[in-house]
């Protein structure tokens, strides 16, 4: 009967092989979000003035000069309020009301007169604003205005939940002042379709914002909203899913699904029912001085799974010479380490319980596995990496080339 120590490594072996791959995959994708994030912000900034005056004017014309506006400001706001209430529901209307009052209050703070008129910019839609944008706007708020204003804005966002644009527009308005208003109108011509998430080109010429007359755009917006809310719930499931744009979210999702599927595959290789051992990469190397009882499987490579091929390859190599096996692994960006060490590391770094069967207590160098369970690939890859550094100093086996295990 095969040595019991040989048991679980079979399960463990696959994971490290994969985990590093995964980590490399996910690492490369980690860099993307930052740049796309910036793009998103730029978009937001650039779209602000254009979208600003694209709201439904009651008389349906753009105001010519600021002076007109101050007269009409309250009337406009009132009409806006009504419109908001009709089209968007209570939340936005409430916000608008708040801002109306706020603008009154702010007008006292020696803002120029057209400030009232500028409040109209507040209505801009952007329903699916991300919290990230909020953060950046709050930063600018800090710089420019007194804490009370900021606190008010924070309060709004907190209570209503999606209002990042409003505070920001208020800031903009205060900066721009009157003369900016006519300018606003021009970019407005190239208006927005409102409510888009990052990456949506805002090119269509649109007259109004709250009410899309085109049934196609309504349907499309509905669809986009549905997708957005589903993605939100997906974000909670997938670890590391704080990405703002769709492409990187999808990337994380894909990585995670692949990771889970691989785990299932590896786990199904374990010894169940106490049957005879069997692991492609059997363990007891130290006791046998270099080879092991893996005669059972080498024939197999009939399946076309890349991982299995690697496993078998490594097993074969291990039979002949540990060093070559190590080098082979290193070529793939993987490493060997004692399971006990790997387990120790993964249980301390990962919060989830480590389900993977801890194999032998002996210091057999085994292909590392990471903690099973819903840990993200990148975390486990890190544990592998940090573990290798430690492993080099750790108690080892009598392998010749153990020193050649370097950081992948």
């Amino acid at each position: 009967m095969q040595p019991t120590s040989g048991e679980l490594p079979e399960m463990n072996n696959l994971n490290p092989l994969v985990s590093l791959h995964d980590s490399q995959m996910s690492k490369s994708s980690h860099f993307d979000p930052t740049s796309s994030h910036d793009d998103f912000l730029d978009q937001m900034f650039s779209s602000v003035p254009s979208s600003a005056s694209s709201f439904p004017w009651p008389e349906d014309h753009a105001p010519p000069q600021p002076c007109h506006l101050e007269d009409q400001s309250t009337a406009l706001l009132a009409s806006k309020l009504r419109q908001q209430q009709i089209s968007n529901g209570a939340a936005k209307a409430l916000l608008l009301q708040h801002e109306l009052m706020l603008s009154r209050g702010l007008a006292v703070n020696d803002l120029r007169s057209p400030s009232g008129a500028d409040i109209e910019f507040l209505n801009v839609p952007h329903a699916d604003q991300d919290d990230v944008v909020d953060g950046s706007y709050y930063k600018s708020a800090n710089l420019d205005h007194e804490a009370s204003v900021k606190a008010l804005f924070n309060g709004f966002t907190g209570s209503i939940g999606h209002s990042s644009n409003q505070p920001q527009h208020l800031l903009h308005s205060q900066k721009f002042g009157g003369p900016a208003v006519p300018e606003m109108n021009q970019p407005a011509a190239s208006g927005t379709s409102g409510g888009g998430t990052a990456g949506q080109p805002k090119q269509r010429v649109r007259a109004r914002r709250g009410q899309a007359t085109d049934p196609h755009s309504i349907a499309e917006r509905l669809r986009r909203e549905r997708i957005a809310e589903r993605m939100k719930s997906l974000q909670e499931l997938v670890p590391n899913a704080n990405k703002t744009d769709k492409a990187s979210m999808l990337d994380e999702i894909i990585d995670y699904v692949k990771f889970l599927q691989l785990q299932v595959k590896v786990l199904s290789m374990s010894r169940l029912g106490g049957a005879a051992a069997v692991s492609p990469l059997v363990p007891d190397i130290s006791s046998e001085g270099g080879r092991n009882g893996n005669g059972t499987q080498t024939a197999s490579s009939s399946n076309n799974d890349g991982m299995t091929v690697t496993e078998h390859q490594v097993a074969k190599l291990m039979e002949e010479d540990m060093g070559s096996a190590m080098q082979y692994l290193q070529g793939k960006g993987l490493c060997l380490m004692p399971i006990s060490l790997a387990t120790a590391i993964s249980t301390t770094t990962c919060r989830t319980r480590s389900h993977h069967p801890l194999a032998s207590a002996s210091n057999n160098p085994l292909l590392n596995s990471e903690a099973a369970g819903p840990t993200s690939p990148s975390i486990s890859a890190l544990t592998v990496q940090s573990a290798t550094i430690a492993a080099n100093g750790g108690g080892e086996t009598s392998l010749k080339d153990v020193n050649s295990v370097s950081k992948p």
Binding site: T4, E7, I254, V264, L267, G274, A275, A372
Partner: protein, 186 residues
């Protein structure tokens, strides 16, 4: 989303189904290769987790349908799910034609030499990325090829939850088996 209660009952149901399937393979002996063993175990596990959904989700139906394509799995499926799943017709033709349409559309656009302003380019790139990744996701989720984006995401959520259940239960089982082996052999 899923409450703890729901989750643990899901795990139990999966375990029950899985064991039912494994019992069919009680004839493992020394000669069964690892590969065969692993395939059997994985198959039982997959069918077990798919049947916890009672065919309410597309991925579960697709999974079972795929498995039932192989004649030798029929008994397994019947045992676990308690009912016979008819063989699903393949939708290969539809997929094929969609691919052709897509390719021709892309070629047309390239030839037309669309606008080259940087913002447009950026958004086009973003869209392309999203599209290609959606395609990859469709390949990963069983039965995902025929779904539209909205239901794809819904299915993915469900699938991920089920995969986690699977991994959790299988991991525990493996750990327990390991302990059992070690305790008996020592």
């Amino acid at each position: 989303m899923k409450s703890r209660m729901q989750n643990s009952s899901l795990k139990q149901e999966f375990l029950k189904n899985w064991i039912k399937g494994l019992q069919l393979h009680a004839n493992f002996n020394k000669n069964t290769t690892i590969l065969e063993r692993r395939k059997a175990i994985k198959l039982s596990a997959d069918i077990a987790i798919a049947s916890t959904r009672n065919s309410t989700t597309r991925w579960s139906r697709a999974l079972i349908a795929d498995a039932s394509r192989d004649e030798s799995n029929k008994t397994l499926i019947e045992k676990i799910s308690g009912r016979d799943v008819p063989h699903k017709a393949s939708f290969g033709l539809i997929r094929c034609s969609k691919k052709i349409l897509k390719r021709s559309r892309v070629a047309r656009e390239v030839r037309a030499k669309k606008a080259v302003s940087p913002s447009v380019v950026a958004s086009l790139i973003a869209k392309k990325l999203v599209k290609s990744r959606t395609r990859v996701l469709k390949r990963l989720v069983p039965g995902g090829e025929d779904m539209d984006e909205i239901s794809l995401i819904k299915e993915t959520i469900d699938y991920i939850v089920s995969l986690r259940v699977q991994v959790d239960v299988m991991g525990r089982m493996a750990k327990a088996a390991d302990r059992l082996i070690r305790s008996t052999s020592l």
